[in-house]
Symmetry: C2
Subunit: 312 residues, 2 copies
């Protein structure tokens, strides 16, 4: 089968590509070709089945190349992160809104019915969340990134209803632990605090110890993406959206696990300097009841110690 | 002020254009230019301020012309009707999804903040409606037309949040009484039964007498569109959507009003041959509580006799 990953040079995309090269997809035919699409690749997998497409997934020639040969599974991960899209409206409009719709239309026009796994985001919910989020919680995006992700979900569901594609939208939380400093993600502190403890470095955290966040490791995320590609989609609701199970943990709980893993001295350099905006948007996450997701076999990282182990 | 209407050759657009030429917009500066955009015009208003743009609102050169001079109020009415879009996926995708997003982006890029009045549709709700529809009822579109309208709402709300446009989405019901036979509208029977009674012709109605529909006259619709253009949008919810007040009437009640208006013989030629699909989608409309809409001064036609009088 021919698998395509957009954003395959990114943090999640690169890990997914490595995973597919190593393991294929659970219960699916063997991978004969893996097309990776991105503007740059730092360390692409070295495998004869892998083809690198350097470029923008929204550009006609890149689309032509992506769908030749026809695509069996398309992972659409490419996007401009939320904070960056909020700064640059035109860029976000193009990359997070118009280009995905053109991509989905292209997939819908091929004879073969492509499975599309779309990386949506919990940003669709916005920041005025109810006390508990469940499968009935309506999206109310507060930033363009979330609005555009919601649009992608709606269009993918409609094309799937028509049988033109077989889509599933996974609403991802912030994934840890991204390397370096990621200015584009408002939730960057979640990765930074893990990396700082691992390196035993000083870190000033922009939320309070009591801030409650939704956590998922890169390994857990990749597992869920691969699971989505192999799933019986007839079990999905008409909206074709799945809010993934997460670990809801305070930053304090995560720091305690980091101390267990790396020693008390590793977290001794953590200072707290809460930023009201970041705390409000990312630090007051409510309980999540992932009914559909758990019934369909998606999973969180298990517990805080496993999260830390898998994330680093 | 410069007003633009897309779909200005259509049933609603042409009436809105005539209304604006005659009355301007309530409480707004005088209209200096009215640009009408459509692929054809049957009977455009004869007025020095009116400019006709023959073409497709999604085409670059037409967009260039539309926004020169800068636009103060944009009524975006152009769309492919629901049943037609359901038949022709590519056409619906282009006209109801991609082109409006390009149009909104163009409006957002001009220096002046354009008021955008977007003709959305009750099709966003889908056909599995709750017993009562109110401002909290979430959209669950069942056809592409409704999905694409919902997308337009979301994107318009986001651009409005950013202050790049000042948008409002009106969810319109079927508007009566369209002339002729409109194959593109699943709700065409609502107009056809009115026209048949007016003409004293035979008509076979595809829903039962007990079918309950949401009714609005063309005159009422035009009034609500003009009202939206002049409204204080700071009173709108963040989603910037308004489900307009409607008269919920059974077809039987409408036929009784037609008999009062045109005489019993005018409706003697009506036969009933319910189609289960049409009855299900258009003939089981629940109660509507238009909270936001009524607070903001939108209105339905008053009563069934006024509806019939205004519609014909």
């Amino acid at each position: 089968m021919h698998i395509v990953i957009t954003g395959a040079g990114g943090f999640v995309g690169a890990a997914l590509a490595r995973h597919i090269v190593a393991c294929g997809l659970p219960g699916q035919p063997a991978v004969t070709r893996l097309t990776l699409v991105d503007r740059r690749f730092d360390d692409p997998p070295d495998d004869a089945r892998v083809r690198l497409l350097h470029g923008d997934f929204g550009v006609e020639q890149v689309l032509d190349a992506m769908f030749d040969p026809p695509v069996d599974v398309l992972f659409h991960l490419a996007s401009v992160p939320g904070a960056e899209a909020e700064r640059d409206c035109a860029l976000g409009y193009r990359v997070n809104l118009m280009a995905p719709l053109a991509l989905f239309e292209r997939a819908a026009s091929q004879e073969r019915t492509a499975r599309i796994v779309y990386a949506s985001s919990i940003a669709v919910y916005g920041s005025a969340l109810p006390a508990t989020v469940d499968d009935a919680t309506p999206p109310k995006p507060g930033i363009s990134y979330g609005a555009h992700k919601q649009v992608g979900e709606i269009v993918l569901a409609d094309l799937s209803r028509r049988g033109l594609v077989n889509g599933i939208s996974l609403r991802l939380p912030g994934i840890v632990a991204r390397p370096g400093f990621s200015a584009g993600h408002g939730s960057a502190f979640m990765s930074a605090i893990l990396r700082a403890a691992q390196a035993g470095e000083h870190y000033t955290c922009p939320v309070s110890p009591a801030a409650a966040c939704w956590w998922m490791s890169l390994q857990g995320c990749v597992g869920n993406l691969a699971h989505a590609a192999a799933l019986d989609t007839s079990l999905l609701p008409a909206a074709r959206t799945v809010t993934l199970p997460v670990l809801r943990l305070t930053v304090e709980e995560v720091v305690a696990a980091l101390a267990r893993r790396f020693g008390a001295q590793a977290v001794a350099g953590i200072r707290w300097q809460p930023d009201a905006d970041i705390e409000r948007v990312f630090g007051r996450m409510p309980a999540l009841v992932p009914g559909i997701a758990e019934r369909l076999g998606f999973a969180h990282d298990g517990n805080v110690d496993l999260l830390v182990e898998r994330a680093l």
